[in-house]
Subunit: 356 residues, 2 copies
């Protein structure tokens, strides 16, 4: 197995359907995380697309996004091959099914979340090249992110034997472990984080759905055959797509599939899944403050300070997240930042939707 110059390029499938509240109040229902510029380098979506823009390896991407985000996505990205607009959110397994059904069976798809960071794109591209022969040979190739801590919020991939240099058969996909299990796995060195990135032939995925989640495949097929295409935009049929179960690819396919490979990588991956995670990947000043926007910090240390416009003045405070958007201010200790969900839940209860 070797990658020939004349073989077809990989088609990136960028999943841009998520909403999420973990970076609330910056991320909002109408302004999902992938549309945010969290690093100063552009939106997460644009950074994701740039990561798979090398024409020697990649074709123009398929982007799968919520229908309400169509213009935002089109405005954020140039060079989209196809924009598939989900009529409703049904999680990743159905979203990827739409892209796979829009491709030829032998097309190799690289499925990527649109809202993760990778600090070393060249290392990532090398890993894709490493996995590519296996994808062409019918494997579902995953990328195992080197675990940096005993994180209980992620899924893990356990390695089995080596298939080639830097490529292993995957023994197991496991969802969020308890703390003791996570610690044992990280210490053991055979588990990697599941970063939600997959490389496989379209036909491999369709066959896996047929075997393990036929109702998803059926709904996606109906949605595509009954849908409409306008230019490069595809509108799957809403009624047909709504019939699909809402399942992740991990749950619907990966935990059950045969011929799953894992390419371990150490490429500075982050899902930026919390304000704390953003703090960790951000540049900081001499006092450990990660500051974006207009701010005055006096005798303040270890804070994430982020403003969309208002001047933020932090005096004598430590290890806080302080976020100011035009209409909302959040103050929470960094180590409690997962609790923003509680605030969003309370706002929902109170019907204060304008702040969600």
């Amino acid at each position: 197995m070797s990658e020939g110059e004349n073989q077809a390029r990989v088609i990136p499938v960028i999943l841009s359907g998520g909403a999420g509240t973990r970076l609330w109040p910056l991320s909002r229902a109408a302004r999902p995380k992938q549309m945010l510029d969290l690093t100063g380098g552009g939106s997460m979506l644009a950074l994701t697309a740039a990561r798979v823009a090398d024409p020697a390896l990649f074709a123009a991407p398929i982007v799968v996004a919520g229908a309400d985000q169509a213009d935002a996505v089109a405005g954020a990205l140039s060079g989209i091959g196809t924009l598939i607009l989900e009529p409703a959110a049904r999680n990743t397994a159905p979203a990827i099914a739409l892209a796979a059904l829009d491709s030829y069976p032998d097309d190799v798809l690289l499925v990527l979340p649109s809202d993760h960071l990778i600090a070393d794109p060249a290392g990532f591209a090398a890993a894709v090249r490493r996995g590519l022969p296996f994808a062409r040979d019918g494997w579902i190739v995953t990328f195992g992110m080197k675990p940096e801590r005993a994180e209980t919020g992620y899924g893990y991939i356990e390695r089995a034997g080596a298939l080639a240099d830097g490529v292993f058969a995957a023994a197991r996909f496991v969802e969020k472990p308890d703390a003791a299990t996570a610690e044992a796995w990280v210490a053991g060195g055979r588990h990697d984080w599941n970063g939600g990135i997959f490389l496989m032939r379209a036909g491999t995925y369709v066959a896996a759905l047929a075997a393990h989640a036929p109702d998803i495949l059926q709904a996606a097929e109906a949605a595509m055959t009954q849908g409409a295409a306008v230019g490069h935009r595809i509108h799957p049929d809403a009624g047909a797509f709504a019939a699909s179960p809402s399942l992740s690819i991990d749950y619907a396919v990966m935990e059950k599939a045969e011929k799953v490979a894992v390419v371990p990588v150490d490429v500075g991956w982050s899902d930026v899944g919390s304000w704390q995670a953003l703090y960790e990947v951000s540049a900081r000043d001499g006092d450990g403050n990660a500051v974006t926007g207009d701010a005055v910090a006096i005798d303040a240390r270890g804070n994430l300070i982020r403003s969309d416009g208002p001047l933020v003045t932090a005096i004598g405070v430590e290890d806080l997240v302080i976020v100011a958007t035009g209409d909302s201010v959040l103050v929470v200790p960094r180590d409690q930042c997962q609790r923003v969900r509680e605030a969003v839940d309370r706002l929902k209860e109170q019907g204060k939707d304008k702040w969600i």
Copy 2:
């Protein structure tokens, strides 16, 4: 000495010339503290005027304000007798001189800062009645606020012998003491806080200026004689007023004057001179949070949270001041809130005047 029904009413002189940065970023150069509604009951200026609105005791007030605040003051208050518009800020001694010179010598003036709170206005009015005979008799009557702590930021008035029930001769006016001195004074029971409120005949004040600060008197006289009156508004001459020294009444007059009396009061006075001071006089919820405006507090205790508009979400934080205006956010521990001045100074250094 007794207050006869037929005697002229007291003329309140409300000093509204201050700017101040201690409640920054809510108070601003263009929106001084007296224009703020800090309690939900109206602006500090309006509350001050309401405190001296009883027609049985008080005539229509003279308000002395900065020229740039003319319309704001007129909009905030109805029933102003005279609005004297200072062409420049020259501290309290010259400001009161303008009001005294606009009055008949036998008019009794009650000089009041416009940005203090008094929780018990009836008690305060009773104290004014108690001091009134002495004011008519040529004394400068001050009001000694019962000290609640060994505050080093205030001036103190030391009592000498009693002149009448609840009225004492003042032994000394003393500026901000050190901590040990303040503690000794509060323990000793003969010192009260100087609340900056004075009751005296206009002629008494003019004579005191002639004796102790003749250059202030001369500048104020020239400013009034060369000034212009438009309706109820008086515009003292700018050039003449600019020649006045900039001095407080305490320094220019009170520390030197003869026949100074003090009426000790316990009327819930606060100068609301810091966010901490505002917290102390504010209503609080069961978690000790004093909240004004849209806010969500989750597992948050002892915070002052104040918003002019943005939703403020505080999670897991204690004893903070969190203030959000349309264009500025402040986060500082309550016990460090005096340090807002450092932020204002830094903004000045950086030329960021729009936030000051």
